[in-house]
């Protein structure tokens, strides 16, 4: 028995008879930080979409605390998405019709009602990503780095068990990529969330406790320390 909170077992995914994932076994532990790297088109996004319950595998099972979620209905799945996961995508993370604070509180709005403490938390988190005072800014006035940091705050607002970040710094310059990445790692540590990170950046991957590489539709553990020797 391992202590994974989410576990993928024997996952296969085909797109039009082409295997993107072939018999992948993978899991993430409480408060663990994991990185996945791999060439473009290897299927990294597909893998974490399956883990994040955004996509179904062609074969295989997904377990959340030993409950098979493949058999859950759409409503239950969306509840799990909202409660368990916080997502950060590469770009276009925000809803343009809402301002910064409304975007951040939107997941809360979906799961429950917004209360004073939520507002306090949102403001505090904004302070933490150095966006204090940005509450009422319209999202189209934000720079790329600022939007990503707003997305980070939004991912944290429901205090997720797992933060899934798909190349969150992919469209940022190196300096702001570092700043943003450190914020993600620190916030995850502070709020006891696991972190699943897809990145091409070795420096970031090295900061994770566990690293994987996705190659030829297979997922293998990868040790940066060894590869450098």
């Amino acid at each position: 028995m391992n202590d994974y909170i989410v576990e993928l077992k024997n996952i296969q995914k085909k797109f039009e008879n082409v295997f993107v994932l072939k018999d992948v076994n993978f899991g993430i532990r409480d408060r663990e930080t994991v990185s996945i790297c791999g060439t473009s088109g290897a299927g990294k996004t597909t893998l974490i979409n399956i883990m994040g319950l955004l996509e179904f595998p062609t074969h295989g099972n997904i377990f959340w605390e030993d409950q098979n979620v493949i058999i859950c209905n759409a409503k239950r799945l969306s509840q799990m998405r909202a409660k368990i996961f916080g997502y950060i995508f590469q770009r276009c993370n925000l809803i343009p019709e809402l301002n910064v604070i409304e975007n951040i509180l939107f997941p809360k709005r979906i799961t429950s009602k917004i209360s004073m403490p939520d507002l306090e938390l949102a403001k505090e988190l904004l302070q933490r990503v150095r966006l204090g005072g940005f509450e009422n800014r319209n999202v189209w006035t934000l720079s790329g780095g600022e939007s990503q940091r707003v997305a980070v705050v939004r991912a944290m607002i429901n205090r997720p068990r797992i933060v899934i970040a798909d190349e969150p710094t992919g469209s940022l310059d190196e300096k702001s990529a570092h700043i943003t990445m450190d914020m993600i790692i620190n916030l995850c540590r502070e709020y006891d969330s696991s972190l699943l990170l897809i990145t091409h950046n070795q420096l970031f991957a090295k900061k994770m406790q566990t690293s994987y590489i996705l190659n030829n539709s297979e997922l293998k553990p990868f040790d940066y320390a060894k590869s450098e020797q």
């Binding site: 979409n49 955004l54 996509e55 759409a74 969306s78 809803i95 019709e97 709005r109 319209n138």
Partner: protein, 410 residues
Amino acid sequence: MNWCLYLALKQLFPTGKRFSFFSIMSIIGVALGVMVLFVVQSVMNGFQHEIRQTIIATQGEARVNANNGVLYNADSLGNFLKNQSEVAALARYAYGIGMLEYNNRSIFPIIKGIDFENEIKIVELQKFIKKGNLQNFDNRSIILSSELASQIGATVGSSVEIYSPMMLKALQTNEIILPRTLKVVATYETGYRQADENVAMVMLDTVQDLYGLEEGVHGISLKLKPDVRPEKFAFELNKNLTYPIHAASWQEINKDLLFVLKTEKTMMFFILVFILLVAAFSITSSMTISVIRKTREIGLINALGGTIRQCEACFMIQGLIIGIAGSVIGIAVGALILKFRNDIISVFVKLCGIEDFMLKFYSFANMPATYQLGDIFTLVTFAVVICCLAGVLPARKIAKIKPADALRNE
């Protein structure tokens, strides 16, 4: 607040922009349709109401007649009717076609004989008099409609000659009855064409004399007490009347005209509803475009815990909001237009320089308009339902979206 409603409102009225072009245009489209329908219906209601009032004012609310034959026992029937608790007043009448001649010009109007003392309790004759007055009205005088008077060139004070069919019959037995000379004491206009075109009024006994009816009349017209429904009254009364004597409400007597008016209103509704349909089509097309544009956003909302169904609901709600907002604005603007309708018309008329023309053909100085809550209700329901339906197609597009693919969408 439910988040679907919240997002729908935000998509229509985004934070930070004063308005969204799409929602304003859609709402204006619906409002225009609702407004036009509302105004046209109200004006038609107004005219209809006016016509009904005129009919009642000129004909009374009900009539009892002998299947269009002559009624010889009018007195006992009159007493019977007088004893009905619903009856406020009654008056006998008789009529026939005759030839009127003045200055060698002749016309063939309906000569209506009225029981003057009682008739004025039913019909406000005085109100319709244009020239002359009723004080001198006796069995040697006649009241013409303005139109008849102008056709033969007669005015108040002229003496006209009246020939009845009786005179022709008399000729067969080599008798000669001389035409009756009557003095025009007044001219009238009711505003109701049927009456204005072709009716001249004389005393009842003049008609009885001219047509050899003796004591017979053609019917009795009735004025009912307030709150008595003429149709119901006539129906109940007929249970106590024997053939050929028959009571008819004004609605029954004029049922063809009333049917035409009603059909006119319904047809107008159907034609104008197309404005709303066009508005709905444009809502559908712009919403569909916005669904395609927002594909990624829908994927994102899905990742944040919303279901695809809820995203569909969000778009349907947008349709609903547009429908409701459009209806409210449409009714409000419509009510405003109706309130100032006469000012608007007079400005329009002056701008076009057709003032005299308009006043001659329509008495537009006071255009009638009444609105009925039932009409407003139907109209608003219709508009809202159409707008909701406009959201259906975009919503079905959303149903086909796969969240993972939507998120890959750039």
